[in-house]
Every structure is written in C-alpha cells, then in structure tokens.
C-alpha cells in the first residue's frame, strides 16, 4: 500500500481523535492501521467526508491495478505488482503466456494450436506448468473467417483469450461471442478510442491500450477511467527490444515510484510481432518475463519453446523470501528395509525432486533423509552453514533413521565431500560415504554400493 497508517489517521474525523468505535475498532488509530494493511473497508467509518473518502480510496488502491482475464479456474490475474526487482520483496502475478492464432492460418494449424495450448502441461517440483491464453488475431480482412475462428476457440476450450483486431466491428462482435468470459480486447488506440468507449460500456471487459510511446498512453487511460473502465492493459508500442526494456521499466517505475495513476496498469508484450526467426522470438519473450510484462504473446508453442519459458517464469516469480522447500523428514523410496542405504540431502524442492526421482530410477530401496536447509541447495546450504557436521548430526538423531536401519552408513552428496571428515568425527559409530556429485549418477552409484555391501 502506498500510504501509511500514521498518515491516514490525521485525515479521519476530528483529526483521528473522534474514537467513536462505530467501525468496531477501539480507536481511530486502530482503524487507520487496519486500512493501511488492507484489512477493513473505508465504508465502516460513518463520519468520513466524501472528499476525504475519495482521496483515501485513491491512496489505498494498489499502485498497479489488478486485471482478470478469462473466467472460472482458467482466469488469469495480472497486475498488483509491488516491486521493480524481485529481491526487494517478490514478483506476484506471473505473466500469462498467450499463443497467437491468426484467422489466416490453415484449418490444421488452428486445430493443432488449440490442442497444444490445451494439452501441453509440464510437471515440475510438484507444480503444473502451462500456457494461459489464446490470442485470436483478425488478419485476413474477412470478418466471417475471424468470427469462425473465435467461435471455434470458444467451443473448443474455456481458456481466456486476447482478441486482436484493428477493425472495431470485428473486435466487438468477437467480444460479444466471448462476453461471458472476460476477454481482453486489443488494441484500443488514440484513433479508435472515442468510438470504442460506448461499445466497451455495453459489456465491460478488460481493454488493451496501444500507443507509440509511454507518454501517449496517458490520455487514453485517463479517458477510459473517466468512462468507468479500469481493467486496462498497456502496450507502449515498442518496435525493438531496447525500446521495450526502456518502456516497460519506465511504466513500472512511474506506477510504483511516482504513484502515477494513469500508468498504474499491467502491460502486454507481443514478441510475436517484433522478431522474425523462430527461436529468436522466444528469447525475446524471455526478456519480457523479467522485464515486467503481464501478458506475453508468442506465435508458436511447442514443448521445446514453451517449457524453457515456463521454467524461467517459475524461477523469476518464485518468492525469494520463501524458496520452494519440502518438509524435513525421512522419505521412503522403493520400500526400504533395515538394510537399505541411507542418503542425505537438503530440502530445496528442486534438490529433493531430482534426488528422489533418480533414486527411484535406481530401483534400489533407500531412505532419503532430507534436512531442513531453509530451501537451499546442497552447495549453497553448505556455504551458508546450514549443511555442516554440527547441524547434520542432531538432525540424524532427531529424524529417527537410527531406529529404522540396522547399519550406520550414511551417503552424502559428492558436492560436499569435504565435510566427510568432520561428519565422521561428529557422528560416532557412523561411516560416511561420499556419493556422486550429480544426482544423474545415482542410478549407476547405488546398485554398485549395495553390491559392495553384500
């Protein structure tokens, strides 16, 4: 939030000293603090003047509006971002990846794309990664073709859509087909905005605004806001990536640092129209994942192009304050018994998922002791002092593995081979074995180890 509780209280009735308790809180100060944290509505104060109320409502609104595209479980939320750099807090709403489908494409191509966007799913660290939207593009000049494309997508999938048409009639006819599912209509420009506003108001839906520069977006969003339209997505019309980085950065800064309301909306980027050359388009898209786009439209989505982008998006939008981590405990793999090997690793989700899947692939029944390293990988956890002998020893004690096995042999990750000595010293009775440096070598390592023991 952009205003502090201590500043709000001064604006409340009698300078915040009325303390009537009608809002349900003991003091005006408590009410102000709760307002600042977003925990209560301004309407709870019966004595606040309309003028102050409007002023506070504006100050309390998030600096970048939230926009929802699509409906139901496929609804995509973008906006409400609070920082320029992920280390300042975290990025919040992942950009939606939209797959462009033109009405000029062949039947087969259209069908293939719609199926792709529906079916391409990737499981990673316990999450499912997928594309979010279709971008339906009126390119042919033949309205009946575009209408057919829109109807087809509408019937085939309940994914959200971006409707792209320079022809306003075609755009609003498509909007009407999709009216119940909150499509994003694009582009609204200086040239068509006055004709578009009355038609948008007939059946409100998010609006994508395009101008040639950041500055030229301002009068357009002001007009829309005046008409009561606030679900807006911005396209600063960048012709190349340098301009795009500049525009996206200036937009984010204007919204967050200057609290400049007319630019406080999420953005859309269209690498599909910026570059020629198939791989280059996806590298361009990767720039927008980092540089602030709310929606990124790409012209093709195959496993090879979509997976790297989705993984990059997952990486960049992971909350740096809370690395993805799994629970500290002993995991059973392939039904281990009292003779099975005991492996040790850290609790970063990625580490856990790789080590456990490779161990599973080895077919050797094993105990995997996952130590809490606050979500750090093996080497970084070691460097940060969270994976050293003095912390591992008590963990092995408390995790209960000693009661599950009749041997005392512990396999540690090869990357921390150097702690072997101190670990054997700290854990009397235990033999410490250095495992492979890479998890991919576990399926070769474990069977050999077990054979040696026999």
């Amino acid at each position: 939030m952009s205003i502090k509780g201590t500043d709000i209280v001064k604006k409340l009735p009698e300078g915040g000293k009325k303390n009537c308790r009608e809002c349900g809180l003991p003091t005006c100060f408590a009410f102000a603090m709760k307002l600042a944290s977003g925990g209560i509505s301004l309407d709870k104060c019966p004595y606040i003047s309309p003028q102050v109320k409007a002023e506070l409502a504006d100050a309390l609104a998030p600096p970048i509006n939230l926009v929802t595209i699509g409906h139901g479980e496929n609804a995509l939320q973008i906006g409400n971002e609070e920082v320029l750099y992920r280390h300042e807090k975290t990025f919040i709403h992942q950009p939606g990846i939209a797959l462009l489908v033109s009405d000029e494409e062949t039947e087969a191509s259209i069908e293939r794309k719609i199926n792709k966007v529906r079916e391409l799913r990737f499981d990673r660290v316990g999450l499912t990664l997928k594309a979010d939207l279709l971008a339906l593009y009126f390119e042919s000049g033949d309205k009946s073709k575009f209408e057919a494309l829109v109807r087809r997508a509408y019937e085939a999938t309940d994914l959200g859509v971006v409707l792209i048409s320079d022809d306003l009639d075609a755009l609003f006819e498509a909007r009407d087909i999709y009216a119940s599912r909150k499509p994003l209509i694009y582009p609204i420009t200086e040239e068509n905005i006055d004709r578009a506003i009355p038609r948008i108001k007939q059946s409100p839906t998010p609006v994508g605004v395009r101008a040639e520069t950041v500055e030229q977006l301002v009068p357009l969003t002001l007009k829309l806001k005046e008409a009561g339209i606030e679900e807006i997505v911005l396209d600063p019309g960048s012709g190349n990536l340098r301009e795009a980085i500049a525009a996206q950065t200036l937009l984010r800064r204007a919204a967050l640092k200057q609290k400049f309301r007319p630019l406080g909306y999420p953005t859309i980027a269209l690498p599909c129209f910026m570059t020629k050359g198939e791989l280059k388009e996806f590298v361009a898209a990767s720039v927008f994942i980092i540089k602030y786009a709310g929606i990124i439209v790409i012209s093709n989505a195959d496993q090879y192009s979509l997976l790297p982008l989705l993984v990059q998006r997952l990486n960049i939008y992971t909350d740096p304050r809370m690395p993805l981590a799994v629970e500290e405990k002993v995991y059973e793999i392939n039904e281990p018994n009292e003779q099975s090997p005991v492996l040790l690793t850290t609790n970063w989700s990625l580490t856990y998922f790789i080590v456990s899947s490779e161990t599973e692939a080895s077919k050797v029944p094993s105990w995997l002791c996952v130590k809490n390293s606050e979500g750090l990988g093996v080497v970084t956890a070691w460097a940060a002092g969270k994976f050293s002998a003095d912390t591992i020893e008590p963990f092995i004690k408390r995790c209960g593995i000693e009661a599950k096995v009749n041997h005392r042999r512990l396999v540690i990750p090869g990357k921390v081979a150097r702690i072997r000595g101190e670990l054997e010293e700290a854990m009397s009775g235990w033999e410490v074995i250095v495992g492979p440096r890479e998890a991919s070598d576990i399926p070769a390592f474990l069977p050999e180890l077990v054979k040696k023991w026999k």
Partner: protein, 300 residues
C-alpha cells in the same frame, strides 16, 4: 496529469577491466547504468560473449552440441580457432577439465603448455578456468600464469581458500583473475575485500556461480542483480568489478538441454538472457547457435 519520465542518474560506475593485451585486448565493464538501461546513458563496452573450449574431448554431449564443431572437439587449438573464425567469438574460455584430480589429473606443466598453444593461436583474449579444486587449481593456474607470462589471461576461479596463492602468481606475471563465491552476496564482497589487499581491483572479475535455468538460475540472477545495484546505485567500491557468467556447462548438463536440439539451445539462450538482464558483463556459452541468438537480442 502530466507524465515526467522517471529517468534515474546513478552515482557509481563499474570498473573497466581489460582482457588480453595488444591487438587482442578486449574491455569489459565500465558502465554507469543498470543493465541495458540505454535510455539512461550509454555504455563504453557492451556485454561480451565467449565460447567454451574443453581440453578433453567431450564424452557425454548430445549430437546437436557436437555437430557445429565437427572434428575439432578433439583438438582444443583448432576448436578455439573455429569458435573465433566461424562463430565470431569475442573471447575463448578454455575449461581445464583434464586437470581434475578425481579424473585424468593431467599435470600442471602439460595443462600450461596447452594453454600457451591455444593462446598463441588466437587473436582474441583467453579466459582459463580450472576445475574448482582448491588445491589442484593452485598448481595448475600458477603454472599457466608463469608459462603465459604477461599475456593478461583471465584466470580463475580464485576461491576464499586459494585466492592469495593464485593471486600472487597471477599478479607477478601480469594476468587478471576471477574471484568466485558460491551464490552469496556477503561472501562475494568479503572475498573482493580480501583479494584487493594484494591485488589491483581493476584486474578482478567476479563470478557469483551461474546456475542453469530450472536449477537455481533465480539465485544467480538475484545475486548478480543485487551486486550490480550495489555497484551502480550505491557506489560500493568492493562490488564494482565486472561480472562473468560461466553458464554453458551448467545449462548443458541438464536433462532438459539434452532432450532436444531446439530446447537445448533455448535453455542456454534464455539462461544467458536472464543473467545478462541481471547485469553480467561477459557470458560464457557453449553452443554457437545460442551464442548468436543472445548476441542478436543485445544488439536490438
């Protein structure tokens, strides 16, 4: 409402470091803006790109990674030449994998002789990475420094355990060095401070350890981004060294990169683009195609 572009002016400047000497000198760093913020100033030196060469023939590379190089993968000198002549590499990064004490454990003398041969064959600067084994690297990199006297190679990694020994020899023989710390901003700064006591700051490049996409890339990304902000916004002299992202090997060891040609190339290109946007000044890539893609992205 009037829009005033929120342009910022920065107090700090990254040091300029020269790699190589004479005709082959290449400058990196020197910027006083955030990465690719060309709307706020200009940069003396754009991000630079090196291609990797190994001193042993790769054993487990997929076909699409071997294919561009053909037969030269068994010949580091010609491999390096090919990277420069055919793929336009601005620098070569020679990875001395054969010196790994747990592997072939090639002698320091032999490794140094190869480095000299490669360096003599090139008209671009040479970066030399040891295996990261703190003891072996002291022997190997010291010998390399001596044999390639005054060539101003970029040698690394210098770790907190061995920076003094390698740094001393590197300085004596006129080389620049890479200070490496494992994805931790405080350890990075601590190493820089210690190293600077006996080594000129304008001959140091920092390596925060690059992780591949999906394998901790976000940690490398954020450390680089923070280091760059400390250098440029907060004018922290002990963070104003240019940054190297040695990412080729990290990307190509993933199963995703090994799964298919296009996916592998994008895996590397997107990792590189991410670290570039974070603030890397020189990037080490493996595949000529991803190298080309990322260079094109930077030039507009």
């Amino acid at each position: 409402m009037i829009y005033h572009p929120p342009i910022e002016v920065y107090a700090g400047r990254v040091r300029e470091v020269v790699l190589g000497r004479g005709n082959k000198a290449l400058k990196i760093g020197g910027e006083n803006i955030l990465p690719l913020h060309l709307f706020e100033g200009s940069v003396a030196n754009p991000p630079r790109f090196a291609l990797e060469v190994y001193d042993v023939e790769p054993a487990d590379w997929p076909d699409w990674l071997l294919e561009p190089f053909g037969e030269v993968v068994s010949d580091p000198v010609n491999w390096a030449r090919k990277c420069v002549n055919d793929f336009g590499a601005e620098a070569i990064c020679l990875q001395l994998e054969s010196t790994d004490p747990a592997g072939e454990a090639v002698s320091a003398e032999q490794a140094a002789a190869l480095v000299k041969k490669v360096n003599d064959a090139l008209d671009v600067p040479l970066i030399v990475y040891g295996t990261g084994d703190e003891k072996a690297d002291v022997r190997v990199l010291s010998k390399v420094a001596e044999v390639c006297d005054s060539e101003n190679l970029l040698l690394g990694p210098l770790l907190k355990e061995n920076y003094e020994e390698i740094g001393k020899v590197a300085l004596e023989h006129g080389h620049s060095v890479i200070a490496q710390s494992p994805v931790d901003i405080n350890l990075m700064k601590e190493l820089n401070i210690k190293l600077c006591k006996s080594f000129p700051a304008n001959k140091i490049v920092i390596d925060p350890v690059s992780s591949g996409l999906g394998y901790g890339m976000e940690y490398s990304f954020t450390i680089i981004e923070r280091a760059k902000q400390l250098a440029v916004i907060f004018k922290d002299g002990m963070m104003q060294m240019p940054i190297i992202a040695n990412l080729g090997g990290e990307c190509w060891k993933t199963k995703e990169a090994k799964a298919g040609r296009e996916q592998g190339i994008l895996w590397e290109a997107i990792t590189a683009t991410s670290l570039l946007l974070a603030g890397a000044n020189i990037l080490v890539l493996r595949h000529p195609e991803s190298y080309k893609l990322v260079k094109e992205i930077v030039s507009g």
